[in-house]
């Protein structure tokens, strides 16, 4: 197993959001996590990445055999966990090049590889930029500063390409994207697919899953996974909405 | 020097000044007297450097001034108090909620000595204005709202200067709003007559946990008036306070608002508008002290200066160590209309905690030429366009006033003032 979550409970400011999540993801699998607003989807991704505003109250998370919850956010990243943020933050004055170079070299150090020279690094950037058709000018600017919504999301996938994670969590990557941008972003994700890496796609809607086809679909509701099925569940949810799930779990 | 003359005046009339004062107050006065005598920083006392008369024996006019002078605002009724020079006149007694007290301070000192002693000077500013006030103040307004009480209408306090010779008046207000109580106080400063006046008015306000308090101060006096006013406020947890100081006309105005945010979740909104003309000097000095975590403050002061007027804004935001999650926003905007007007702005941040968001912005300039042109291109005359822009600039300060009738009245007065018309309060017998 690449990722194993056992009975995970987490809260923010004393309010319990995750109320016993169980989830296993194997190598090469694509999982979709769907659910109505406020069900805890983004909390789950933040907890996995190690955001300190969230407190894990009980449960375990194992990532490649390591206890993920004991690792600092940067250690999780270096171990191969990547979060594509729903709202990527702007960092004024810090150029994309410097930012990415620091990140890539940290990852290489972790793998006991030598740091890239400036030339090698720029070459790598050029190659990866094409995957998401990222405008060359964007990488000369400060991190996410003045980027449009679509540019920010493409920039996230570009970073994913640069860091080559084993597990990518795409948190509402489709929000704020028009149809062309959605296609470019999902094609980028698909190009990066390898037999040994896995993806969690967190989304509210079907449309992203038309492009990134999941092996397994989970429905998250009120902090628990209430239903797990194959990709056919996506169509069912699209057709019937979430109300029937709510009824099923006795609301 | 002049201050010495006032110190000797007190010494000569000590018995008269201390008549009715409890032991602790008499002692506090001696301490303040000493502090004044020792004061090294005389700049604060500059305002006293003219020879004004005082009224140590508190001789009263033969007629009740409250019957002669009234200041009414259409659309609301208030509980009305008049501080005529240095003495407070209350309206006849009426039914108030259980335990609520409002009366002249001199009466409160006699009737509720413990209550007055418990709060008096607890949060004083320790500066020359405080000491001068403590030595000489004989009267003022006392308001006490016990827990969870509220009044059905605002309290209106009119400070009126009236004499036929240079006159100084010193008064002290003590306002206690206990936990969960609510009050609104509207202070109107007026001056009547041709002579020189100086007033030193000091207001202490204690706002308990979860209590709400609004304090409006409107000055519409005359060129001969020097008005030194201090409001010191202390807020407990969850208290909400709004202050607004509006200076429409005066000679020399010094408004000092000192606020301690002493309880978590306390919120302060502090505002001011100054319209300067002639040789008027208007100074607003605010001191906001975030002593605990999680309190917030927003501040907005605006000046429009014409003629040879001078504006001074000093705003300090101080954040103590450990006062995390403080949010403080301070804005000062000024318009200089004439070649001889002068504006000085000193927005100050003093911050000793790291988890804070504090911002200040200050801008001084003129009306937006592009906006003027745009309006003119739509057929509006330049003078009307200027007036519209100036009033829009000024009205922003009124936005959060909680009493609609007061807001309407102020808008009208500001409009007339900006048009250069007479801007008295219509029903007010003082500014006619």
């Amino acid at each position: 197993m690449l990722l194993e979550i056992k009975d995970l409970h987490a809260e923010i400011e004393g309010k319990e959001i995750l109320r016993g999540i169980n989830l296993s993801i194997g190598e090469g699998e694509v999982h979709a996590i769907m659910g109505p607003n406020g069900s805890g989807k983004s909390t789950l991704s933040a907890v996995l990445a190690g955001h300190k505003a969230y407190r894990v109250t009980s449960g375990e998370v194992w990532f490649k055999g390591q206890n993920l919850l004991e690792m600092a956010p940067e250690e999780r990243s270096r171990a191969g966990l990547f979060l594509s943020f729903q709202y990527p933050i702007e960092i004024p004055g810090v150029s994309m090049v410097n930012f990415m170079r620091a990140a890539v070299n940290e990852h290489r150090k972790y793998k006991q590889l030598p740091a890239l020279t400036a030339g090698e690094f720029l070459k790598l950037m050029r190659e990866k930029k094409e995957i998401v058709q990222l405008d060359s000018n964007l990488t000369n600017r400060s991190v996410n500063e003045g980027f449009s919504g679509g540019e920010k999301k493409r920039n996230e996938i570009f970073q994913m390409a640069m860091l080559e994670p084993s597990l990518s969590i795409l948190d509402e990557t489709d929000s704020g994207l028009d149809i062309d941008a959605l296609r470019i972003v999902s094609e980028g994700v698909n190009k990066l697919k390898r037999p040994d890496n896995s993806t969690i796609v967190i989304t509210h809607y079907q449309r992203l899953l038309d492009y990134i086809v999941p092996d397994v679909v989970h429905v998250l509701y009120k902090g628990r996974i209430v239903r797990t099925a194959g990709r056919e569940l996506v169509a069912e949810l699209e057709e019937k909405g979430y109300d029937w799930i709510k009824q099923e779990v006795g609301e | 020097m002049i201050l010495d003359a006032y110190i000797s005046l007190f010494r000569e009339h000590r018995a008269a000044f201390n008549a009715g004062a409890p032991e602790w107050l008499a002692r506090a006065r001696e301490a303040s007297l000493q502090a004044l005598a020792d004061s090294a920083d005389l700049s604060e006392l500059e305002a006293y450097a003219t020879d004004y008369g005082m009224n140590p024996n508190r001789l009263q006019p033969s007629e009740d001034p409250a019957k002669v002078f009234s200041c009414e605002i259409p659309g609301i009724t208030t509980y009305n108090y008049l501080v005529f020079n240095d003495s407070c006149y209350a309206q006849p007694k009426r039914q108030l909620p259980q335990g609520v007290v409002d009366c002249p301070l001199s009466e409160a000192i006699a009737k509720y000595p413990d209550l007055v002693a418990r709060y008096w000077g607890k949060n004083n500013t320790c500066n020359a204005n405080w000491h001068f006030n403590q030595v000489f103040a004989q009267d003022g307004l006392f308001v006490y709202l016990p827990k969870n009480t509220q009044l059905d209408r605002p309290i209106q306090l009119v400070n009126l200067m009236y004499d036929n010779q240079p006159r100084m008046a010193v008064s002290h207000n003590l306002i206690i709003v206990e936990d969960g109580a609510k009050a609104q106080v509207l202070v109107c400063d007026h001056a009547y007559g041709e002579t020189q006046y100086l007033s030193n008015r000091y207001t202490e306000v204690y706002v308990g946990a979860g209590a709400q308090y609004e304090h409006y101060k409107l000055e519409s006096t005359n060129d001969q008036m020097t008005n030194v006013s201090t409001v010191s406020l202390e807020l407990q947890a969850g208290a909400k306070v709004l202050t607004n100081s509006i200076t429409l006309h005066g000679g020399r105005t010094s408004n000092d608002v000192q606020v301690k945010l002493s309880g978590e979740g306390a919120h302060l909104s502090i505002n001011g508008l100054a319209l300067g003309a002639n040789r008027q000097c208007i100074s607003n000095h605010t001191d906001i002290w975030h002593k605990v975590a999680g309190a917030t403050s927003t501040e907005l002061f605006k000046y429009i200066l014409d003629g040879e007027s001078q504006g001074d804004f000093y705003g300090l935001i101080k954040v103590d160590p450990g006062a995390d999650r403080t949010m403080a926003l301070q804005t000062n905007r000024n318009l200089c209309l004439s070649a001889d007007a002068r504006m000085q702005s000193r927005p100050q941040l003093e911050i000793y905690a790291d988890d804070v968001q504090c911002n200040h912005g200050s801008a001084t300039g003129q009306l937006d030429e592009k906006a003027l042109f745009y309006m003119q291109s739509r057929g509006i005359s330049e003078s009307e366009a200027r007036f519209l822009l100036m009033s829009a600039f000024a009205y922003e300060v009124l936005d959060n006033i909680g009493i609609e009738a007061v807001k309407d009245r102020l808008r009208l007065m500001i409009e007339r003032r900006l048009r250069g018309e007479k801007y008295n309060c219509a029903t007010c017998s003082m500014c006619k």
Binding site: A49, H51, K52, A53, A72, P73, E74, S77, R78, F85, P88, I89, I91, P92, G93, V94, N98, F99, M100, A102, A103, E106, H107, Y110, S142, V143, Q159, L163 | G322, N334, C336, L337, S338, A339, A341, R342, M343, Q344, S345, R346, P347, Q348, L349, E350, I351, Y352, A353, D354, D355, V356, Q357, C358, N359, H360, G361, S362, A363, T364, G365, Q366
Partner: protein, 482 residues
């Protein structure tokens, strides 16, 4: 500072403690401690000064005696015993510039600092005046510059060789009575640089003075005077270091800049005096008066400073914008850590018509330090059309430091437009988390974010200096996150 110098600097900077903490064992000619009229006379005699300069010093000394130590800054300054300082120290074997032999120890010292003085190794594109304690050790590129009529030499030399120029401008921008430390400096100033750029000359290389305090128990009181004649241009750099010592040493300098019609002067400082140790012991007291007078029409001055050193910093490089259409700009990064204190900012005095000024100040406080911006923007009655924009941002790292902003804006002209914005906050947690998520450690992330925060200012420095300043900031940050 291309190639050799740059490489050397980077090497020197690569380890985390204060880099320039060594002292040089040279034979020093040092005055006994104490200050009285005879000391002032002795300094003047030592330098074979003309009578007018001695008179200037004595006038300043007597004024100083009547002045009080300034107390208005947001600083805790331990009482300074002015009788426990030596007012003159010079490396004894020093032979003034120009091809003559310099003490190899001194050459070695400046080599360690990344400032080679030998002709064959000198930095390309940059002329250097190296000042150790009270005297100038060596000025490079002098002949090349003199062909253009540019005068670049120590102020002592200038007094001897260009007395008229010095007498005309010395004290014309910062009067000897300006403030306590200006009076002290005017009485006892030792060496420093003098620059004169003739009419119409664009100085082809950066001019640079490198200040070094070496001797124990001494103060450094250098004096810099720059005169840019009509239509001229010069970029001037100043760097400073001192050995690590437990005692506090006083540095009270004056920089005066006179800018005539349409001339332009860029003055950049990377101040890295020894800041004291982790417990606040030792370090330099840096009490400096710097001012530029934009006397000519359309003249321009740009101040850029990166302040990372000194136990206490007290300086307000200012511009008097007297000429019509003159421009003053001020860019500052002040970083304080441990027990450092800084009270720094600028004064922009608008006197001429259509004068413009711009202020960008970035303060970073860490450890137990206190960091204050203090500024004055004043628009005089006749300064029609004056414009100012000020932006002052403070970043707090840690719970025990302080960040303060004390601007004064004084407007006496209705056509002026002034804007001041300030913000104070800590490093944004979401930015840190974003960096962490990409595998960057918190310490490196803070470095990146601080780099971004200060970029607007560092970009104003000449390239070589910007690299050095960036490194200095990163080094200063080390240990501040935790």
């Amino acid at each position: 500072m291309k190639k050799t110098g740059q490489k050397k600097l980077l090497n020197d900077l690569s380890n985390s403690e204060y880099k320039y903490g060594f002292s040089t064992d040279v034979d020093t000619d040092i005055f006994p401690m104490g200050l009285d009229e005879s000391v002032v006379r002795a300094i003047s005699a030592k330098k074979h000064e003309p009578q007018w300069l001695l008179d200037f010093r004595l006038k300043a000394y007597h004024k100083w005696l009547t002045m009080e130590h300034p107390a208005w800054a947001h600083l805790q300054i331990p009482e300074i015993d002015f009788q426990k300082i030596s007012y003159y120290a010079a490396p004894r074997k020093k032979q003034a510039g120009d091809g003559q032999q310099i003490d190899p120890e001194l050459v070695d010292t400046f080599n360690k600092l990344g400032i080679p003085l030998e002709e064959q190794k000198r930095l390309s594109g940059m002329a250097v005046d190296a000042v150790m304690d009270s005297t100038s050790v060596k000025t490079t590129y002098k002949e090349e510059l003199s062909k253009l009529g540019v005068i670049f030499c120590s102020i002592g030399e200038a007094v001897a060789e260009y007395p008229d120029l010095v007498q005309k401008y010395l004290g014309s921008v910062v009067s000897y009575a300006d403030n306590f430390y200006a009076a002290l400096n005017s009485a006892v100033f030792s060496d420093g640089s003098f620059v004169y750029i003739p009419k119409g000359v664009r100085c082809p290389m950066e001019l640079s003075t490198y200040f070094r305090i070496n001797a124990m128990g001494t103060g450094q009181f250098e004096r810099t005077l720059i005169v840019a004649d009509d239509d001229s241009y010069v970029s001037y750099l100043e760097g400073c270091t001192a050995p690590m010592r437990d005692e506090n040493q006083l540095h009270a300098a004056i920089v005066e800049i006179v800018v005539l019609d349409r001339a332009e002067v860029k003055y950049s400082t990377v101040q890295n005096w020894y800041p004291g140790d982790k417990d606040g012991k030792g370090g330099i007291y840096n009490f400096v008066t710097k001012r530029a007078l934009c006397q000519g029409e359309s003249s321009k001055v740009f101040w850029t400073q990166v302040e990372t050193g000194s136990a206490i910093t007290w300086k307000y490089p200012g511009c008097v914008l007297k000429g019509d259409n003159s421009v003053g700009e001020f860019y500052s990064v002040a970083f304080t850590n441990n027990y450092q204190q800084a009270d720094t900012g600028t004064k922009m005095i608008h006197l001429g018509k259509n004068t413009r000024s711009r202020i960008v100040s970035k303060g970073i406080s860490a450890g137990k330090s206190q960091n204050a911006y203090r500024g004055l923007v004043k628009v005089g009655k006749n300064a029609d059309g004056a414009r100012n924009f000020s932006q002052c941002d403070s970043l707090l790292i840690g719970k025990s430091c302080g960040a303060h902003t004390f601007p004064v804006i004084d407007v006496q002209n209705p056509t002026a437009v002034l804007e001041h914005e300030a913000s104070t906050s800590k490093i944004n947690e979401d930015q840190l988390f974003y960096c962490n998520q990409r595998g960057i450690s918190t310490e490196d992330a803070v470095g990146l974010i601080v780099g971004g925060f200060t970029k607007e200012v560092l970009n104003k420095l000449p390239m070589e200096f910007a690299v050095e300043a960036q490194k200095l900031l990163q080094i200063s940050l080390e240990g501040s996150v935790g």
